[in-house]
Amino acid sequence: MAEVSPKLDAKAPTGPIETRWERHKFQMKLVNPANKRKHTVIVVGTGLAGASAAASLGELGYHVKAFCIHDSPRRAHSIAAQGGINAAKNYSNDGDSIYRLFYDTVKGGDFRSRESNVYRLAQVSTAIIDHCVALGVPFAREYGGLLDNRSFGGSQVSRTFYARGQTGQQLLLGAYSTMNRQIQRKSVEMYARREMLDLVVIDGVARGITVRNLVTGEIESHSADAVLLCTGGYGNVYFLSTNAMNSNVTASWRCHRRGAYFGNPCFTQIHPTCIPRSGEYQSKLTLMSESLRNDGRVWVPKNKGDKRKPQEIPESERDYYLERIYPSFGNLVPRDVASRQAKFRVDEGRGVGPTGEAVYLDFADSIKRVGRKGIEEKYGNLFDIYHKISNENPYEMPMRIFPAVHYTMGGLWVDYNLMSTIPGLHVLGEANFSDHGANRLGASALMQGLADGYFVIPYTLGHYIASNNLPKIDSNHDAFKASREEVSQRLNKLLSVKGKHTVDDLHRQLGNVMWEYVGMSRNAEGLKTAVDKIRGLRKTFWSDVHVTGERNFKNAELEKAGRVADFLEMGELMATDALVREESCGGHFREEHQTPDNEAKRDDEKFQHATAWDFTGGGEDPTWKAFKEPLQFEYVKPSQRSYK
Amino acid sequence: MNTTWAASTIGRKQIIGITGLGLCAFVLSHMAGNLLILISPQAYNEYAHALISNPLIYVAEAGLVLLFLAHLATASVIQFKNWKARDRRYEVPPNGEKGTSVARRTLWAQGMLILVFLILHLNTFKYGENYTVNYGNGEIRDLHKLVIDVFQQPGYVVWYVVALVVLYFHLAHGLASSLQTMGIHHPRYQPAIKASSLFYAIIVAGGFIVQPLYVLFLYRG
């Protein structure tokens, strides 16, 4: 059972929730403007969180060094977010407010997030929209020239701002452009095609990173007064996910191994609307924005094994199961609920398509209602993507969709200031565990990434720097040398195995284990099996993997190998965490803990806490110790989530 | 760090565009003058005389030479930069829906051919045999006779027509392209701009070609 740890002091303010952030900001120390440029801050990752943090800190005058694994910071995976970004603007006059966004997010996260954090997120959401518009983000507008809003996954108000189906790209280009401005002003130095392979901790404080130059293979050291990790989630542990091919856990994992606690690793989000897998060769899955559920109706045939074409199945033989089970939310139930229901239908044998692992998402009624043109306006590019991939025209045939791993709510544990259990190491965006609890609401990831980068870290980082005496350290320090040495040895080790398995092969096997046992629904026995199987795979990996090429050149196989090696540890931690959390909440569904009608059954008595894992040993099989951060709900009283 | 307009690629393209538009106006008027051959030898010769006897002709010629040299030199500078920018060709050239027409890709080569044509053309006509004729107002140059001489040689006519077809392609793309380079583009008018450009090129090249064909096939002393 998890213990309480003094390291897990959330430093969350108390008192009236509306003024917590305001008061906290005032109490934080400031860094003299003239001194800021003397402080170096490392930002790893240049997605929404990283680019916005680098830009804002550069703007304040800090000397920022930003790193990304891509050829350009603009390629970070935030770019692929489709749907939108929430903000409590109440432009739609439908009763939205900061409090309602806060309430929805806490409830949506199934009471496993920190109230103070969530309230702050809702508070700064409005400033994000203002800032992004000022940066030239071309959000959708109405004919009068004002911003358009829509309702999005699980929300009963229209608070989602969007830019056709590519809100992520437009927001990222905004953050990227404002970071470019700082690069031009020389306050941000950009290091592209660099992969962080270690965190350098000196006297218990994060003081720099070790990176590999992915073009030359050179191992470089970079020292700083603080390190910001903005490296995204770990969904690719499942091999198939909607994450980009290069998304990985390595940076987070290296920090975890250096002492940063990992929070709620088992909380993964399975997104209900993805294009189903078509064969063994499948390399990744493509998301169809959940905004499609606003106009599409989800159904399966009433009869098992009905192989007729969807158009030939009469209305009376269709089961619009979300509308049937959840009359008030219908097709707009939160992601975890929609995903699980799709899985139940497939398990019942009522799945559709060649593999039987899909359900229909049908637009026929909407096309009848608003016309093909209306649907094209809203979802044109999504329909095109679907058409290209599946070779079926969704204007004529219902889409086939199935859930896929999409987002990880878990991540490195951080306090209210976004600092991990290693002083100086801050974690932003999807890489941290903080705001979404056990399930993230649609259009909240972009909001959190930008909130952390634009509006939280600029204050809290200043406080950290102003309150700590950080002696000058350069990269010749012994700790840097040791880190470089360790990193080199690990690379050599990967290259020296020269076994029979390809990296992808083992990754695929890991993915199958994770999906099977640590996927949409989990049970104790399966989770134990998963741990065993993952250990076996890890053994195979280190004794029988084949990594081609050399260290001192561009080598994508070597990059992949290092990442898969970390996934092979991460997967075990996820299964372990899922095993000890003996309740169902949000995206974490334990079969042993469900209501009679198959809904998630929380156990607030025992599990109203975040679990944070301390890495205690890195032998052949790593070991961990669990600690807990109890959660208090003063404002939103825990209740059984009901979308009926 | 701002390079000046004339040193930038866009500025240079605009120099090519502006000079090109000037040359477009010139070839149009030249072509119209040529068509006087269909009226009578006298009209043809008197028009030519009016042009060359005007003292402003030197200014105009100087201007024309300047336009032409600027067009040629700037295009060549750009062309060398372009060759340098693409250091290696593809194994398979772009094709299908993503391919472009040869006419559009070879503007500079067309220009070079037109240059050769121009030199020979000036040599043949402007600095060619100086026949004279008198219509009652003193002796003037009988350019008509020279034109008849030249265009009764089928070989010369073939070369002339080929050169003019190349000029057609050059103008057809060049005119629309110049407008685009100057920043004139609107989806509503774009089809009209393209059509006018083609129409203009057909008129000019066609008008020029009329003269040798007329001389070779229809003209009976």
Binding site: A134, G136, G145, L146, Q169, T178 | T3, R105, M182, H185
Partner: protein, 248 residues
Amino acid sequence: MNLKLKIWRQAGPQAKGHFMDFEAKNLSPDMSFLEMMDVVNEELVRTGQEPVEFDHDCREGICGSCSMVINGNPHGGDRGTTTCELYVRRFKDGDTVVVEPFRARAFPVIKDLVVDRSAFDRIQQAGGFITANTGAAPDANAIPVPKPDSDRSFSAAVCIGCGACVAACKNASASLFTAAKLSHLALLPQGQAEREERTLRMVAQMDAEGFGACTNTGACSAACPKEISQETIAQMNRDFLRASLSRR
């Protein structure tokens, strides 16, 4: 189905490249082109050879990483498509497929099909932004933007920075890329304050990177996976002329 692949291999920036022949067998028509490359690569690894390096990431047509020239066309023969959105069903059984890197002096080859496109970043660093400090913005609805303007701006902002325009252009010109970035901001009220300065700076950087000049062949728009219009280039030309003439 089977395909004969002819893939460019180049060990490093200075190395001399060559084509490698490869028979890709038993492919599913529903495979994406990159999944076929994965299969080829896994086969190479199994036989102890180095796999073909190529940039790729999101595999859904938005990150702009993938950058191959397939049978002469950047991102393959279909309009409005990135390489990752290209499917094997597009080819005929037994076809020969030539795969090359983007070729431009400003995009030097790093390895195999991977090229260095950092020139694009530098063009944007030169001025591709609106100066607005975090937290200083007025309410988002304070400035209405007419929908037609907003839509036009958006249709330029869809640029994914892949570089297909450069790859397709016979002059390796970056005009469409630079123009798309400029038009996106130039068509919004927020972008007006810096409009001229931005145009001058970005064009200067574009020239400094060694890209060629635009000769209006339209190859770029044809190759652009987001089908960005030539109109953006006209806008850039116009803005550049005005900015050059009016600068002090």
